[in-house]
């Protein structure tokens, strides 16, 4: 399988009041094309921080302090991927919601209470599919103009059409310029001579200064009544939003789109959040514990929805959960994280049938089984404080197989079997 996204030795710190929380301690994971990849672990182990680092939306006081995050989205990137940590924020905003999307745990607070559902879902279209929207609206207007007799209406529509066409032209120019700049930056990425560095800096500066719209359009948007011309686009967007909601199984999508988040049930809100994430057909969908706050029946619905979407629209999913049952049901591959480290990575089958890392073994053992009559199994000890984490392997204070070396140095990641890696000294001798 081909890699889609990869993190290499990712380190993320949080500079809090009480000290520096070393949340990620060299996390290396990768998601393959077309698979559902699971990230498992307890609360606080760093799963959320990892994916937020991937999208570079880590909240302050957090900061990514080391490592690489490589994307292999385009054909041209196959060989070495784009390290998005070297990219500008403009690049990231164009990517978020378009190539990578994320859905969150608490749907009710994830939606803006004072904006309508239709607006919030449509916002993605406005950000990333503006050209398409413009084109459609222009085509619609052309048809209407030939049919309109009334002079004022015709004039207004003609004005709208010309403004939209202008915007479309500027947008296309902008995008092609961005593309050429990005291409050249990618080609020059690993070159270190002064001339290349200077060229790269120049390109970056130029890229940041490109504008999506030109002065005339911005001016018109400020004029009190003229600015209403853009309302026409909202209609096109709304139609697409309704279609999207319908395809996600939302009944009566027109009414829902006109309404507000607080009118919906928890399950429905989560569907809306999913709709927002899917609006622009992302290449990768990241789901951060999307079902943890829902009751079991709704949970099942959402999981089914994601599974069916996987077969149709989304190609790859990164699923975060602390529920091992869900992992077994939904994921193809999974990584187990503990206190900022990746303990083990394997296909779900291998993970459940042959867990290597003592932590994984402990986790699987502690899942209660129906026949169990005596005390529940637990992993002794407590989750460590990440400001002063344990030295070496962060699990060693609680590990039944801890050795001397475990406290001294962080264990390397060993490939025990094809596709099955583990970070534990128990397996280093065999190699």
């Amino acid at each position: 399988m081909e890699k889609l996204l990869e993190t290499q030795e990712l380190y993320t710190d949080f500079n809090t009041f009480e000290g520096v929380v070393k949340a990620l301690n060299g996390v290396s994971v990768h998601v393959n094309q077309g698979e559902t990849y699971g990230l498992v672990g307890e609360s606080g182990c760093g799963k959320s921080v990892t994916v937020r680092s991937m999208m570079r939306i880590v909240q302050s006081p957090g900061k990514i302090v080391g490592g690489k995050i490589l994307l292999f989205f385009r054909e041209e990137d196959r060989s070495r991927g784009i390290d998005i940590l070297t990219r500008s924020e403009t690049y990231m905003t164009s990517m978020r919601g378009d190539d990578i999307s994320m859905i969150f745990q608490e749907a009710s607070t994830s939606l803006n209470p004072v904006l309508s559902i239709g607006y919030q879902v449509g916002e993605s279209f406005n950000f990333h599919r503006r050209g398409q929207i413009l084109k459609e609206t222009v085509a619609e207007l052309e048809r209407e103009i030939s049919n309109t007799k009334f002079f004022l209406a015709k004039a207004w529509k003609t004005l709208q059409r010309s403004l939209f066409k202008r915007e479309l032209r500027v947008l296309n120019q902008y995008e092609s310029q961005i593309d050429t700049t990005d291409d050249e930056l990618y080609r020059l990425e690993n070159e270190r001579e002064t001339a290349s560095l200077r060229r790269k800096a120049l390109l970056r500066r130029r890229r940041d200064h490109l504008r999506e719209t030109d002065v005339l359009i911005q001016f018109v948007k400020r004029v009190p009544f003229l600015a209403l011309y853009a309302r026409r686009l909202d209609r096109t967007v709304r139609a697409q939003v309704v279609e999207l909601l319908r395809s996600l199984g939302v009944s009566n999508p027109e009414r829902i789109a006109a309404g507000y988040p607080h009118e919906l049930s928890g399950g429905m809100q989560q569907r809306i959040v999913i709709a927002i994430a899917l609006a622009c057909n992302p290449i990768l969908l990241i789901a951060d514990e999307p079902t943890s706050n829902l009751d079991v029946t709704i949970q099942a619905q959402i999981v089914d929805l994601i599974k069916s979407l996987k077969q149709t629209t989304i190609s790859s999913v990164l699923f975060i959960t602390h529920d091992l049952g869900l992992v077994a049901e939904v994921c193809d591959r999974a990584s187990v994280m503990y206190a900022g480290d990746v303990a083990e990575t394997a296909s779900v089958r291998d993970l459940f049938h042959n867990p290597l890392h003592p932590y994984t073994q402990g986790l699987l053992r502690s899942v209660p089984k129906i026949q169990q009559a005596d005390t529940l199994n637990t992993i002794p000890g407590v989750v460590p404080n990440l400001i002063h984490p344990p030295s070496g392997c962060r699990f060693h204070p609680r590990c039944p197989h801890a050795m001397d070396i475990c406290a001294k140095e962080k264990p390397p990641t060993i490939e025990f079997a094809p596709g099955h890696t583990v970070a534990c000294y128990l397996y280093t001798e065999n190699k």
Partner: protein
């Protein structure tokens, strides 16, 4: 509950509070010795001492409190508020004379105060911890600390005393001649509006010119409150989850702040705008005294010094009612705007 029920409940509550206010005001009234209160019923000069007792008895000022209360309340509902010595007219008449001046200043400066506050408050939040932010916070805290009367006096001293512009008062002497001449139609009592209606534009500019300084004064003093609230409200909104969702959608900084955050941040500011308005009205006592604008605040200040009881009581009651009504309106506006309340 539906919007209708909500409005109904608030209205009933308002009536209750108004009654409470009237009792409170009456309580204060009763603290004043009858000798002073009897002056309210006399339109001419001083009463000879031997007649005071007789008059007190005649007007029932020695009756038990509840009796006097209901009598007083009855008078109020009939529109009889007594006679004001300072206005040299019945209180209601005095109100009609003085209120438009106050209204004009409030209507002119309140929107500016709010806009300035919102603008700077947002700027402070967007540029958090940068020099701009610190400057805005400093300005806000200074504005909040300044005694209302002091700033006005300083402004007068500088602009009017030193530079010679923005004089106090409501109109220049020439303007006053026009106002008191027979051709002038006093329609609303607000000089700017009346100036337009009478098509005497020089009055309009004159009035605006005299409005400048009090407005500047009020802006400096009152926008501080809105600034601080807007800033903290924006910061709180920015910490919410929906900002994270919008960020993950690909929203740029501007959209995040000025659309997603600001709309949510505005709600508390709208609430406080009402309170601000009411507070401005109350503060008119000082502002009008300093800038010699003959509005109800000025009237109240004089009445207090000259122990003009009816005028004092009326103004207190009036302001109390205005406060309560404004609070109700603010609650209703809030309900209309916040979709969560509007749709139950």
């Amino acid at each position: 509950m539906s919007l209708f029920n909500y409005i109904l409940r608030r209205l009933l509550f308002m009536v209750l509070v108004l009654f409470g206010v009237s009792i409170l005001v009456f309580g204060v009234l009763m603290l004043i010795p009858p000798g002073m209160r009897v002056a309210a019923y006399v339109t001419s000069e001083k009463i000879p001492p031997n007649q005071i007792e007789a008059m007190i008895e005649a007007y029932g000022l020695n009756d038990p409190a509840p009796v006097q209360y209901f009598r007083w309340l009855g008078n109020i509902f009939r529109g009889d508020f007594g006679f004001s010595a300072t206005a040299e007219a019945p209180v209601v008449q005095g109100f009609k004379t003085y209120f438009p001046t106050t209204l004009e200043l409030v209507l002119f400066s309140a929107p500016l105060v709010i806009l300035v506050g919102i603008w700077f408050g947002t700027a402070g939040a967007v540029n958090k911890d940068k020099p701009v932010d610190h400057g805005i916070r400093l300005f806000a805290i200074i504005g909040y600390s300044l005694p209302t009367f002091w700033l006005g006096l300083l402004l007068l001293m500088f602009f009017y005393g030193y530079l010679g512009i923005f004089p106090p008062g409501t109109l220049s002497n020439e303007g006053k001649d026009v106002i008191f001449s027979p051709e002038w139609n006093r329609i609303t009592g607000l000089l700017t509006i009346d100036g337009i209606l009478n098509w005497r534009w020089e009055i309009v500019w004159d009035a605006l010119y005299h409005l400048m300084l009090p407005t500047i004064n009020l802006i400096i003093l009152s926008s501080a409150l809105i600034m601080r609230l807007m800033r903290s409200s924006m910061l709180e909104a920015m910490g919410q989850d929906y900002i994270r969702t919008a960020l993950a959608k690909g929203a740029d900084r501007k959209t995040l702040y000025y659309l997603h955050a600001r709309r949510n941040a505005m709600l508390p500011v709208i609430t406080i705008s009402g309170i601000l308005l009411a507070g401005m009205l109350a503060g008119m006592v000082i502002t009008e005294t300093i800038f010699t604008r003959k509005g109800i605040g000025w009237w109240m200040a004089r009445a207090a010094l000259q122990l003009d009881v009816p005028a004092i009581m009326f103004n207190v009651l009036f302001l109390g009612i205005v406060f309560v009504v404004i609070n109700l309106i603010v609650d209703l506006v809030y309900a209309a705007i916040d979709p969560r309340i509007r749709l139950g």
